[in-house]
Amino acid sequence: MIEALIRVIGVSSIGLVLLIFAFLLREGVPAFLTTPLRGLFGTRWYPTFGFFGTLPLILGSILVTLTAVAIALPLGVATAVFVREVAPNWAREVLKPMIEVLAGIPSVVLGFFGITILAPLVREGLGTPTGLTAFTGSLLLAYMALPTMISVAEDALDAVPRSYRDAGLAMGATQWQTIWRVVVPAARSGIVTAVMLGIGRAIGETMAVMMVTGNAARMPITLNSLFMPVRTMTATIAAEMGEVAHGSAHYHVLFAVGILLFVFTFLINLAAASTIFQKRRRGGLR
């Protein structure tokens, strides 16, 4: 009885994901049929005037996300190493829950912090024309991706057998050498998973990004693009979906952007999952 119930619940959650995807396809596919592909992947996004070029939005999302991960990765791994390998037990007991709390801060609160404190700092500190830049968004996203990355990376370090550390130390390596030359490389695939999940978290984030990136749909292809405003896919959907006429070309294009976003996150999660499965098959470390 209970077994059947759990099975129904498990299957229905997969069913729901499929239904959502079917809905996305139903609303988004007409965009690929009515708008020529060259228009859809053009460089101009002026939906009010029939220019539905999504390229600035796609590149904007990629720029902000990759920068965020580049910022978060060293911080996340260093924190995970500190919490797992260096910190004394009592500090670990305090730090772990605090990191979990970071994940609980609502993104709109972070966005507010970004717009009032971070943006002026970026403008004055880096001399950019405005503080609402891709970089400001990346800083916030890095902060938001950190808790996920730290806890996954920490689990990966935790799974490295004690014998590895003992062997390293017995060979005469210092604790530092053991960590960087033995433990971290052994946990490498777990850290890759952490990065993937961080990317997944960052690319889907909407509110904070919409508040601090300036939402200018410019092509981020010049060298200074990181320090210029940018418009992401998520912010575009959030800002425009509420006002769009149901069934119009703009409406379908917004769903098409949703499909792209779905495909991106799906591929990233798939990549993360495949690194986990590879390890399982080799029977190695988790």
């Binding site: 101009r44 002026y46 939906p47 009010t48 005037f49 220019f51 600035p56 717009i115 009032t116 943006a119 002026p120 403008r123 024309p129 405005t130 503080g131 609402l132 919409m210 508040m211 300036g214 939402n215 200018a216 749909a217 410019r218 092509m219 210029m228 405003p229 418009r231 959030a238 800002a239 425009e240 509420g242 006002e243 769009v244 006429a245 149901h246 119009s248």
Partner: protein, 288 residues
Amino acid sequence: MAFGVLIVLACLAAGCRSSSGSGEGGSGAVQVIEDKGSDTLVNLALAWAEAYTEIRPEVRISVTGGGSGTGIAAMINGTVDIANASRAMKPEEIAEAEANGITPVQFIVARDAIAVVVNPENPVSELTLQQISDLYTGKITNWRQLGGDDRPVVLLSRESNSGTYVYFLENVVRMGEKESNLLFSPNTLLMSSSEGISAEIRQNPNTIGYDGLGYVTPDQKVIAVAQSADGPYTLPSVATVNDGSYPISRPLYMYTAGQPAGEVEAYLDWVLTEGQALVLKLGFVPLE
């Protein structure tokens, strides 16, 4: 967007009174008028609703923002009685309404002037429409080109779904020319609320922005605008909008589904007559 969606039952005070049983009519039926749309109009619509329920406690008016498009869509779907709009309905919206069996009726309820604003530190205080257009299309990129400091220009605009955005594009960037296909520079920052614009104007001396006159706060510097380089340069005010000397102003609309009747008709009549006294207080321009 999200900032605009403040749902306020405007009749809190009045509603409490009638529920405490002082209504002499005794019929007890409270008529609710749903009023939704333009964020530009939302404060004015709220003030009207509050004042009206003072006089007619048996009528409740619920005012919601969300944007002109949202309000018109809701009117077409029949979920609201009145749609507020800062632009006229588009032909395709009218067609959609007629497909739904609805003939929208338009009322001009007030006028609005769009003010062009900069940071108070900016020495530039006068611009022609042509200069503003050149700024927003990205032809002018440094304030030095307009006699200001050597600073990059940061363009601020409302989101593309805002009625103010469309109005500004057609009448300022394209300078009212139907043939023109000029667009905002891709470097224009699109802000989802009036507050977003004023916050950035306040803290960044590089910025230029525009918004409804009713939303300009004292910490922004309003630019005097001229139709052409010969002047005269005019600051937006009630007087200059009404006599037509300020070049960037527009009507504000309310739409109903078909000719209004009953309480909705009475309310609109009041808005167009006694209600006009409130328009000034909210920074808009009353009808003559």
